[in-house]
């Protein structure tokens, strides 16, 4: 008898939880029609950032390459033409690729970068039909305009 009463009480209590949530604002988002906001320090796809004058920050030092635990990054450096430099200093990244399929979004590359060139943005919609399309090239990674990634293009570092 006591046992049965307890079971009824448990059911009522359980339904109470249901009832409580029934009248709350739902947490489900109707993705992709609606997009949930991400945390400020969320680590999504990478950007190669620019200075305000359009100069590339990346100097092709390959520190991100060596720190990357999943070996996702490939950089080939070259020497700047002093009359038409890509970056400040003698060296720039002639080629820069990140394999998004390998990346684990740890952010180590951002931390290792001595010039603040590589930052992980908030973009997480990274899918594709081929492997090749998920190897992001320098063109895809570089900001379309200074500040696109959210990083202040006036900041020195």
């Amino acid at each position: 008898m006591v046992r049965q009463l307890r079971q009824v009480w448990a059911t009522v209590k359980g339904l109470g939880v249901v009832g409580r949530y029934l009248f709350r604002r739902p947490v489900t988002v109707r993705y992709p029609d609606a997009k949930p906001p991400v945390q400020r320090r969320y680590k999504g796809r990478h950007y190669l950032t620019l200075f305000a004058d359009g100069m590339e920050r990346c100097v092709g030092c390959e520190l991100c390459v060596i720190v990357c635990p999943s070996q996702s990054i490939f950089v080939r450096a070259a020497e700047n033409d002093p009359l038409a430099p890509h970056s400040k200093g003698e060296r720039y990244a002639a080629d820069f690729q990140i394999n998004m399929l390998r990346c684990i979004f740890c952010g180590f590359c951002e931390e290792a970068c001595p010039t603040g060139a590589i930052v992980l943005g908030h973009d997480y919609e990274l899918s594709g039909y081929t492997r090749e399309s998920l190897i992001y090239t320098k063109d895809m990674l570089t900001e379309k305009y200074p500040g696109e990634s959210g990083r202040d293009p006036h900041r020195e570092l």
Binding site: V59, G60, C61, E62, L63, V65, I66, R76, A77, A78, E79, G89, E90, R91, P114, T115
Partner: protein, 827 residues
């Protein structure tokens, strides 16, 4: 003071304590070395164990009991009962202070510095440095980087003034390429007036610079240390066979570095070794076989190309087949060449000595060093006859320089003054053709005056040099191409024997041959030799070879390169098979080659590039370069070294060995070859002592072989009035098949030139840099004039190895040539 003490014997030990550990080291050891030998690390910057200590950087400070101040351990000799501490707070503070001061003016631009990741300054700062900078003022600034010629990039901001590079030039290379300028805060490393650096060894300063102040222009920004795979290899250029490490990133050969080999190159390389690697990745490399169809070379399949070669070989009698080359292949390739051509085809017309028209029989004058390279530095006197050492065998010069530093006199004889002449005690610059008389005078066989009259070298100098040599108990005589590449070579050899005998039986080295010539010689890629220096004429040697091959070896001696070309002219030779050689540019008579080519029915060439010879060929087979195959090579002292595959070849290129194996099957006698190791082992069955690292020294030239010709009078060459005797010499930096595709070498080589003595220049109206026409009875070349007092009067010096202006156009295989040099107006 030292006279009272017993002389320090190597067994005399001193005992001291380092970090509480008792250690015993031979007397004369420095505290730094003592610590290092006992596994205690003391950081250094200026000290380098191949040079005497200097004490400039103070990084190596240690605390020594009873010494009031910290002492530099690199300069402090270990003393009896010394108590040394390397880990105390005082030492740590001093290390931090030194590093902090070094970094005051250091730009710390590691992200864009090529040294990053392999930089002693980074490493020492991380381990011993303060970790924080207190310096907020502006740093000293220089123009960021300066290109000092085609290979060196100087960044003075990064220099920590350790003086290693300067001292390398003073002590090791002897070329004083880099110097310190200004004082104190403004001190900097440079060349006078910042002109391009002139050195054959500057790559080594990039290796020993502890920061990124001296970096390579060819490696610049191409890779990081962590990108590079390392592969052991051997330098393919001169015959020294320096041990190298190739750095490979993906499919890209990024740089060559020296690999320590105490017996060969120690830890050094010359700049051709450092920068002569880029030809491997050149887009001009041949990628597919070429076959002549309707008069033009067209791409073909291997099947078609090899089918054509096999048909030619099958339809020709063995005596009408000849093989030239082999000095650019591995020993295993060369051995299979022998099995194919001696065993299967059945010809002895095999000779690797493409660049000589006066070959001496190997039994009488084997090429190479009879002593080990490392023993050169132990000679008491060194005679260089017709050998431009830094141009031909640069790494040997570093050994000779060490001998000179020990007090050994250097005697130089030649038709021009080599770069190292300033280190010579006696310089005997003579007329070409006067070698034999000069050498006999040096030996005391004829009077100095007669030697002087016949050679043009001053009698006084000859006498003085002879006295110097007589006083040296263990001299070394080294003769080069310039002395022996002439019709009188027999007499020169006889005179060299006489000189060696007069020098208490000094060994005679014949410094000739490049790349794997040493291997080609020991394997017997020669018309009259079998593997292991056994003469072809010896029936038991032939039988021993036949037993391994299962096929007889033809007994009649074959033809030399010159003999093959003569036979081709007379249509006695129909098929010529050239393996990694360019006789059209390198055989010292271009016209003789052309005539021979016309007489050939079929010319087959193994090549990396479309050389002059390949352009004229019927079948061109693309082959792998040294970095693309594993195998062994041997150098001028006969040392066998292994090189590993670092890259895949271009297109469908194959190794020489694969081609020989394929041809043998097409000719119906397959060679069962599974791997290079198997071939290597088979060579071992034929040559006693054959092993990796072993040295198969060439037999001492002249031993037992009586040379005729002594006593034949010598004299100046007859030549028309106003003409100059042409002497052709080798340059380290040239523009040959491989070097022309290496920007670092090509850039240093500059344009081809002809050098004349200032007096001749004045007489002929020639000025430095002016274009001129050099004409010999055989042909003519357009060259730039270089006025140079180093060449003997009445002579014109032209470099070999420029494929765009091959000096062979002027040369005549029948004898020395005289040339007229005519100005072509101002540049």
């Amino acid at each position: 003071m030292s006279s009272e003490r017993a002389p320090a014997s190597p067994a005399q030990m001193v005992h001291l304590t380092i970090d509480g550990r008792p250690v015993a080291v031979p007397k004369g050891t420095t505290v730094w070395q003592a610590a290092r030998q006992n596994g205690i690390e003391v950081p250094v910057f200026c000290y380098h164990d191949r040079m005497p200590p200097l004490g400039a950087c103070r990084m190596c400070l240690v605390e020594v009991e009873k010494m009031p101040k910290l002492a530099t351990s690199c300069t402090l000799e270990a003393g009896e009962d010394m108590v040394v501490r390397t880990q105390t707070d005082r030492v740590r503070q001093a290390q931090q202070a030194i590093l902090e001061l070094l970094l005051v003016n250091h730009p710390l631009d590691c992200p864009i510095c090529d040294k990053g990741g392999e930089c002693p300054l980074q490493d020492n700062t991380l381990r011993f440095g303060p970790g924080q900078s207190r310096f907020v003022e502006t740093k000293r600034q220089f123009r960021k980087h300066v290109r000092m010629g085609p290979v060196l990039v100087l960044d003075r901001e990064r220099c920590i003034l350790c003086w290693r590079c300067v001292r390398f030039g003073e002590i090791v290379a002897g070329d004083d390429a880099l110097k310190g300028f200004e004082r104190g805060y403004h001190s900097q490393i440079a060349t006078p007036a910042m002109e391009p650096v002139r050195s054959k060894f500057i790559g080594n300063t990039m290796e020993i610079c502890p920061v990124g102040a001296l970096t390579s222009a060819t490696y610049r920004f191409r890779s990081r240390p962590w990108d590079n795979r390392t592969v052991q290899s051997v330098c393919p250029h001169c015959g020294c066979g320096c041990a190298t490490t190739l750095n490979v990133r993906g499919a890209d050969l990024t740089r060559t570095r020296p690999r320590e080999h105490p017996e060969v190159n120690d830890i050094w390389l010359c700049d051709k070794g450092f920068f002569g690697y880029e030809f491997v990745g050149s887009p001009e490399r041949l990628r597919a076989p070429l076959v002549r169809r309707d008069g033009a070379l067209r791409e073909a399949t291997w099947d078609e190309a090899l089918g054509r070669v096999a048909d030619a070989l099958r339809s020709t009698s063995p005596e009408a087949v000849g093989v030239i080359g082999g000095a650019r292949s591995t020993n295993e390739d060369d051995y299979l060449l022998l099995r194919l051509f001696r065993g299967v085809v059945g010809t002895n017309n095999i000779d690797f000595r493409v660049e000589t028209a006066y070959p001496q029989p190997t039994s009488r004058a084997a090429w190479g060093l009879p002593v080990a390279i490392a023993d050169v530095e132990r000679a008491d006197a060194i005679v260089l006859v017709g050998c431009d050492l830094t141009e031909e065998y640069p790494i040997l010069w570093l050994r000779v320089k060490k001998a000179i530093d020990r007090g050994a006199p250097l005697v130089i004889a030649g038709a021009w003054e080599p770069e190292v002449a300033r280190w010579a005690q006696h310089r005997l610059i003579h007329r070409r053709g006067g070698e034999a008389a000069l050498l006999r005078a040096l030996a005391g066989g004829v009077r100095a005056e007669d030697g002087a009259a016949a050679s043009g070298a001053p009698a006084e100098a000859i006498r003085a040099a002879a006295d110097t040599l007589r006083a040296a108990p263990r001299a070394l005589v080294l003769a080069g191409e310039a002395a022996l590449e002439q019709p009188g070579a027999e007499r020169v050899l006889a005179a060299l024997d006489e000189l060696c005998a007069a020098c208490h039986g000094a060994p005679l080295g014949i410094l000739r041959g490049r790349g794997n010539s040493g291997g080609a010689q020991v394997l017997g890629l020669l018309p009259d030799m079998l593997p292991g220096y056994r003469p072809l004429g010896d029936p038991s040697a032939r039988e021993a070879v036949a037993a391994v091959w299962g096929r007889p070896v033809p007994s009649a001696p074959g033809r030399t390169v010159r003999g093959m070309l003569e036979a081709a002219r007379a249509a006695d030779l129909e098929v010529l098979y050239v393996v990694g050689a360019d006789p059209a540019s390198d055989y010292p008579d271009a016209r003789a080659w052309e005539e021979a080519r016309r007489g050939l029915r079929c010319l087959v060439v193994h090549e990396l590039f479309l050389t002059r010879t390949a352009e004229a060929a019927d079948v061109v087979l693309p082959v792998l370069a040294y970095a693309e195959k594993t195998g062994t090579v041997a150098n001028i002292e006969g040392r066998v070294q292994r090189q590993d595959q670092a890259l895949l070849g271009p297109g469908v290129a194959r190794s020489d060995a694969e081609i020989f194996v394929d041809l043998a099957s097409r000719l119906g006698s397959p060679l069962a070859v599974a791997s290079w190791e198997q071939v290597f082992a088979e060579i071992g069955r034929m040559i006693p002592g054959w092993a990796e690292g072993a040295r198969l020294a060439p037999p001492r030239p002249g031993a037992g072989a009586g040379r005729d010709g002594a006593g034949i009078p010598d004299g100046p060459l007859p030549r028309p009035e106003g003409a100059l005797a042409l002497v052709a010499g080798r340059r380290l930096f040239d523009r040959g098949t491989m070097a022309a595709r290496c920007p670092g070498v090509r850039g240093q080589a500059g344009e081809p030139f002809v050098a004349v003595h200032p007096e001749d220049a004045a007489r002929l109206g020639l000025r430095d840099g002016m274009p001129c026409e050099v004409r010999s009875p055989r042909g003519a070349l357009r060259l730039a004039v270089r006025v140079w007092a180093g060449v003997h009067r009445g002579h014109a010096y032209a470099p070999r190895g420029y494929d765009s202006a091959p000096v062979s156009v002027l040369l005549d295989e029948r004898g020395p040539v005289a040339v007229t040099v005519r100005p072509l107006g101002a540049p």
